[in-house]
């Protein structure tokens, strides 16, 4: 067994993967079920090895604005929080989108609304994928379903954020954050040098040294025509992201009669329900969106081509189901099954829901 293969919690994998990516800074405020991110970073003390800053802010509002500032300088920065904390960050999210700065924001969802519970939920889907902050903006939303993906999506999230000058979000839940699994860690990369940042981010505010015109990073544009032009540019970027970066895993969809669509932890539970169903002779397939925005419309449409019905399994009252209905243009029955408030269904509950909605009379 190699040293880089180890066992850790999803939250710890986020922290270690960020250090190894060569992150410049983390700014966050602790909240269950993701406090291990900050705890793990502080235990690792990366400021003594890579020089990375780890700072516990006074609030989530402060943390997101620290990320905004770091990102404006072209630095590789991130924050992590859970649902109530993410609500506090919405102003910053919208400002960062309008300022076109690259950053990584992690939401390990818990049961809501309000302060709610500390147990798993997926009820921030709308908030992550349909705005949350004000204005026409999107961020790339990645949905890990294993500890390995928690580690991998840190690098993917930052790569995409810098490529498109947008915010990437890892939308996980308490289950993926708290469970331990085997994980292969990426190699340690050095932090970017000032010179590398100048090349990669010519727009960044990191000192002119008399060599280039002044850079301004702002979300304020009082000239309506210029602001409309900005909006057209944002939308063009979003169309490009939709074209290039849509990701989805399809499992046993070639011959399926029924399709389950689920992401993150519910995709794992649904996979077990699918295994049990197949043993009973019911042909079930699974479509697991990996990017929730952009939503894998074509993948779902293709997987649903010959099915009798689609069951959307979520830890909420029915949010992603709207995107599944849009993707399939309401041509076939799409039903929802979910638990709420921090409760998680068993594989049997998922399979019974599928039978009740489509098979039993």
């Amino acid at each position: 067994m190699k040293d880089d293969v180890t066992l850790m919690k999803g939250n710890e994998a986020l922290a270690i993967a960020a250090i190894r990516y060569g992150a410049d800074g983390y700014f966050g405020y602790p909240i269950t079920p993701q406090s291990e991110v900050l705890e793990c970073l502080e235990a690792q003390m990366p400021w003594e090895t890579t020089g990375m800053v780890v700072l516990q802010a006074e609030s989530e509002v402060a943390a997101i604005n620290m990320v905004y500032a770091g990102a404006s300088c072209g630095k590789t920065v991130f924050t992590s929080t859970s649902s109530p904390g993410f609500s506090l960050m919405q102003e910053g999210m919208s400002y960062m989108a309008a300022s076109e700065v690259p950053a990584l924001v992690i939401n390990v969802m818990r049961g809501g609304p309000g302060l709610g519970t500390i147990h798993p939920s997926q009820a921030d889907y709308f908030q992550a994928c349909k705005g949350g902050g004000h204005g026409d903006y999107h961020m790339i939303v990645l949905a890990p379903s294993s500890v390995q993906e928690m580690a991998d999506f840190v690098a993917l999230g930052w790569d995409l954020a810098f490529k498109y000058r947008c915010v990437s979000m890892i939308l996980a839940d308490g289950l993926v954050g708290q469970m331990m699994e085997k994980v292969v860690l990426p190699p340690q990369r050095p932090r970017r040098t000032e010179e590398q940042i100048r090349q990669l981010c010519p727009w960044a505010v990191n000192g002119r040294k008399g060599m280039r015109p002044k850079n301004i990073v702002t979300s304020l544009e009082l000239d309506d025509d210029k602001m409309e032009e900005n909006n057209h540019r944002f939308q063009a970027t979003y169309r490009l992201i939709e074209k290039n970066e849509t990701r989805c895993e399809l499992v046993d969809t070639d011959d399926c009669d029924y399709l389950i669509v689920a992401f993150g932890s519910t995709a794992r539970i649904s996979m077990k329900a699918m295994e049990i169903a197949r043993k009973q002779g019911i042909k079930v397939g699974l479509a697991r969106p990996i990017t929730l925005w952009p939503f894998p419309v074509k993948h779902i449409r293709e997987a649903a081509k010959n099915v009798k019905g689609i069951l959307v399994v979520e830890l909420d009252a029915g949010q992603m189901i709207e995107d599944v209905k849009l993707a399939t243009e309401c041509r076939l029955p799409v039903e929802h099954f979910g638990r709420m408030g921090g409760n998680v269904p068993t594989p049997d509950e998922v399979l019974n829901a599928l039978k009740e909605k489509f098979i039993n009379d």
């Binding site: 067994m1 066992l7 289950l175 331990m180 932890s265 539970i269 329900a273 594989p347």
Partner: protein, 179 residues
Amino acid sequence: MKEEIIIAGFGGQGVLSMGKILAYSGLMEDKEVTWLPSYGPEQRGGTANVTVILSDERISSPILNEYDTVVVLNQQSLDRFESKVKPGGVLIYDSYGIHKVPTRKDIEVYRIDAMEATFELKNAKSYNMIVLGALLAIKPIVTVENVLLGLKKSLPERHWHLMPQNEQALRHGMSLVKK
């Protein structure tokens, strides 16, 4: 090979640590591993449980309907999880404080006196290693060598001097098992 296990008892009995050692042992054998704790306020004195899955293949759900092996260390956990043992599966319970014994006939039931053994060894902290020893004697899903390697990997270095005591407890637990 795939083994789906749940260990349940009081918070403080070392349930989560025992699961962690088992998970690390699986890692030493290059298996796929998932460890899912019950997390939250119930860990302070209430009931705690942990699901551990070891498999040669990709693991689907960390949440399960039923288990190959159920290890219960108090009455509440026995009441809750006896019905969750797969037919033909294994139920292991500590007799300490149990007033309502398991009744199922379609599973293998093992009673172990781990708490009493802990009193004899005069080392309360070795309780979960005794239980783990008993589990391995009944179901040798990982080797003792790999458990010791896994234990070492799961412990911070400052606790490595306790390894011999842990090994003693583990082997004592293995000797407790009689059907």
